[in-house]
């Protein structure tokens, strides 16, 4: 409810500067040059043109709309534009599920705060299950355990900026370095998600983890990386190692506790020791996914603190 209110308030605030700009253009003498009346009727002298200029600029639509031919053309153009937009939306939805993505960005400040605290200190949290609502998972706004894409996306961008800052303190910064850092971190992320997908396929785990869920879980390590690098920048190398160690252990515990409920069978998830090759394989899979996170965290940040 308040989300839409703040959104419309933001839109109103954004409209006002635009309107101010447009009126200032009309008042200036350059307005006549920018909004030249080209409908063919205004072939008068220059002074008349300048006087009619502000008027024509103030109401540019009137002279255009009075001509029925251009009226038809404008109607046709707008219908074509809406048709094209529909087609783009439909085709884009086939490749990138936009409606599913919206679920992952339905967050609010309280959720983000709690989740960040959980990523750094997951030891006190007891209930790690995602609550459902009539067979669909509840939006992240209402459940701390649900994965979201807001924190990974923001964490990725912040990581690139902090990496640029860290490289700047080593006098190695140049603008294209930011792009290189971004693309290589992105490549590692994609490779990690593909590796996890492949191993999930090979172990034939019946789980409801989607690709976007895996992307979200892999993106949570950026928070720990940022904490480590910032601590290293502020307080030196020992602080970097200490905070990175703390965040690595925290992410390890977080991933194990989250993935345990999704990958393992019911009995094993509750903590009882269940024998059997399949469960053992699944346990190894969970462990290796969780162990890959600290490795990546160290690999992506060690060259930033020299």
């Amino acid at each position: 409810m308040d989300y839409t209110a703040t959104q419309s308030g933001f839109r109103q605030r954004k409209l006002q500067p635009n309107m101010r700009l447009r009126t200032s253009l009309v008042d200036g003498s350059e307005g006549s040059q920018l909004f030249e009346d080209t409908s063919g009727a205004a072939s008068g002298p220059q002074t008349g043109n300048q006087q009619a200029g502000p008027q024509a600029a103030g109401f540019p639509g009137q002279s255009i709309l009075s001509d029925p031919m251009s009226n038809l053309a404008m109607a046709y153009g707008s219908s074509l534009a809406s048709q094209g937009r529909e087609m783009v939306d439909k085709n884009l939805d086939r490749f990138i599920p936009i409606s599913k993505l919206k679920y992952y960005f339905a967050v609010d400040t309280v959720y983000v705060g709690k989740k960040l605290g959980l990523l750094v200190f997951p030891y006190m949290h007891e209930n790690w299950e995602v609550s459902y609502q009539q067979d669909t998972p509840v939006a992240p706004r209402f459940d701390v355990n649900a994965p979201d894409l807001y924190i990974p996306a923001m964490g990725f961008i912040t990581y690139i900026l902090v990496a640029g800052l860290a490289l700047g303190t080593q006098n190695k910064f140049s603008p294209e370095l930011l792009g290189v850092q971004a693309s290589s971190a992105f490549v590692w992320l994609i490779m990690e998600v593909l590796a996890v997908l492949l191993s999930l396929y090979l172990v034939t785990v019946n789980t409801d983890l989607t690709t976007i869920d895996l992307l979200a879980f892999s993106g949570y390590k950026y928070v720990g990386m940022i904490v480590g690098v910032v601590a290293g920048l502020l307080f030196g190398r020992p602080a970097y190692y200490l905070s990175l160690l703390w965040c690595c252990v925290a992410i390890f515990v977080f991933m194990i506790r989250t993935l345990r409920l999704k990958l393992l069978s019911e009995a094993a998830a509750e903590g009882r020791l269940v024998r059997g090759a399949k469960n053992q394989l699944r346990m190894y899979l969970t462990m290796s996914i969780a162990a890959a996170q600290p490795i990546f965290m160290y690999w992506l940040t060690y060259h930033l603190i020299r």
Binding site: Q181, S184, V187, Y201, L202, V203, T204
Partner: protein, 89 residues
């Protein structure tokens, strides 16, 4: 500095190259001439219909499906790569 330049060589373009090379490598594994010699042929893959196909059966299914599905797109992508590399080096 040498370590850093090795690290920084990963771009999206290299990811595409890696994907094409890996897919080519999987598509080249021939059933009769090569995989049967290792006991990984078409008769060893599909075992039981139980709920647990096992890792070997999954890998064999993956190889066969990659070979079937990606045959034509790989031809197109490889030809495009060859032409681009010949033209632009």
């Amino acid at each position: 500095m040498e370590l850093k330049s090795f690290y920084m060589a990963f771009t999206l373009y290299s990811l595409i190259q890696t994907a094409i090379l890996c897919t080519n490598a999987i598509a080249v594994l021939h059933e009769e001439r090569f995989l049967s010699k290792f006991g990984w042929g078409v008769d060893h893959g599909v075992g039981g219909f139980g709920d647990d196909p096992g890792i070997k059966a999954q890998i064999l299914t993956l190889i066969r499906s990659v070979r079937t599905v990606m045959r034509v797109p790989l031809i197109i992508v490889n030809s495009a790569c060859i032409v681009l590399l010949l033209l632009f080096g």
